[in-house]
Amino acid sequence: MISVSAVTKRYPQGLEALKDVSFEIEDGEMAFITGHSGAGKSTVFRLLAAIERPTSGSIVVDGQNLAALRRGAIPYLRRKLGLIFQDQKLLFDRNVLDNVLLPLSIVGLPAREAVRRARAALDKVGLLERERVQPIALSGGEQQRLAIARAVVNRPSLLLADEPTANLDSESASQILDIFRSFHQVGVTLVIATHDAQWMARFSSRVLRLERGRLIGDNT
């Protein structure tokens, strides 16, 4: 499903954020990407989501080489991914339900079916009773769960999350983890970037360890 080979990423004015990184993630796998702040975790996330292009090397996601992807093809790739951003990127000018409806309106799902699916996604993350609430009125953990509902409402087979438990207390964090685990159980591939080592230990999952842009560990 994901194949990263010899990828280097150099930002315009910056130094190299990733240096010669290679790894593969199989369908249905759940993998963590970890490392200190500035190690390059978010850079991997952005490369896999085709938000950035690698400076060199190749990245294949769902059979497509992202290094050579046409600009016009990017939206269609993104629709197959579920993305959970470090800063969540919720829209605060509309309620919880409308936030989850956005990806469905992008793919042009008819309104009735879209509402049905959005409610199902909200139910999965325990926010169904709060569908009319504005996101600003949600707690940090609830906002993160809303971001997850929006990411999964299109039923992606690959879920990419960047620091999904940042700034959450351990109870909220473990709620999020349980949600991820339930996706893993139904065969969704998950790639989770986090510096939060404590809860990776609770999964017997694969951990890719980055340090200053280099992959220094890959234990399954």
């Binding site: 939206p75 629709r79 951003f85 309106s105 992008i106 793919v107 042009g108 799902l109 929006r150």
Partner: protein, 297 residues
């Protein structure tokens, strides 16, 4: 296909929501667009009315042929047959006795005529040409002047010429005004859309990140421009119709003074459609340009 329609429907809804979410802004810019469109639209409707008035004015398109005073039936018959042959339109003969009788009946002229010992008026023909363009009238008059026993040809086209010229200048002025104000309308829409794009920056960014195409992102702004322009056009139409109602009665009286039965009217259904349609088209153009510039690269 289903997805296609629901996407367009969603874009229309989103455009309508953006319009109604800031009612004061919307109202103010609709007033600006309405007035901007109303100016040339009112000019256009007025010129249309003037044209109708001109076409209805009796006597304007008449050519009178006066015979020499000492000519008789033979010459008149000759002119009659030439007119039949030339077939310039409607024409009739006015015998000198009939002309005198008519003059007697004209207010204030009775006494003058009574004092005459003999009829000073000549026989005459009156021609109402089928084609009333000034240059055609001019050419006909020239032909009539060359005919035998014709003393004088009077072409009442000075009036018609002036009116025609006035209409031409008016049309040119309205067209120039329309072009200028169309530019203003495009600029107003451009700026409104620019502010919309800034205000929607978060939604645009998120939409892109989760798989929206350029078309999906641009579409609501284009619908917004169309809707905005069409509503401005509708407002302009109300203004023009209102002005028309106020002016209809006094202008009708004025027309009547010139012997025209022409009744001034407000914008016709096709003009109304055109005003709203042009508003929508210019709104779309402003939105297109704004979107093209602000989403460049």
């Amino acid at each position: 296909m289903n997805g296609f329609f629901s996407q367009h429907y969603a874009a229309q809804k989103s455009a309508a929501r953006r319009l109604s979410s800031s009612p004061l802004n919307t109202l103010l810019s609709l007033i600006v667009i309405g007035i901007v469109l109303a100016l040339p639209a009112a000019g256009w409707v007025m010129l249309d009315n003037l044209q109708g008035f001109a076409g209805n004015l009796p006597g304007v398109q008449q050519i009178s042929l006066f015979m020499m005073v000492d000519t008789g039936e033979k010459e008149a018959a000759e002119i009659g047959s030439r007119l039949r042959e030339a077939n310039p339109g409607k024409w009739w003969f006015v015998a000198r006795d009939d002309a005198l009788k008519h003059l007697t009946e004209t207010e204030g002229m009775g006494d003058v005529v009574a004092g005459l010992t003999k009829n000073p008026l000549p026989d005459a023909f009156v021609v109402e040409p089928g084609d009333s363009r000034p240059e055609v009238l001019e050419r006909l008059a020239e032909t009539f002047r060359s005919w035998p026993a014709v003393a004088h040809v009077q072409l009442d086209s000075a009036w018609s010429r002036r009116l025609d010229l006035f209409l031409r200048i008016g049309r040119l002025a309205v067209s120039l005004l329309a072009v200028l104000l169309a530019g203003a309308l495009v600029a107003v829409t451009f700026n409104t859309i620019r502010l919309q794009i800034l205000a929607q920056a978060a939604e645009i960014e998120v939409s892109r990140l989760i798989g929206a195409t350029d078309a999906f992102i641009h579409r609501p702004f284009q619908y917004f421009g169309v809707l905005h322009g069409a509503l401005g056009g509708l407002f302009a139409l109300l203004l023009v119709a209102g002005i028309g109602r106020i002016l209809a009665a006094p202008i009708g009286e004025l027309f009547a003074l010139y012997g025209s039965g022409f009744i001034p009217s407000g914008p016709s259904p096709s003009q109304a459609g055109a005003i709203v349609g042009i508003g929508a088209a210019l709104g779309w153009l402003g939105a297109r340009i704004s979107v093209a510039i602000h989403f460049r690269g």
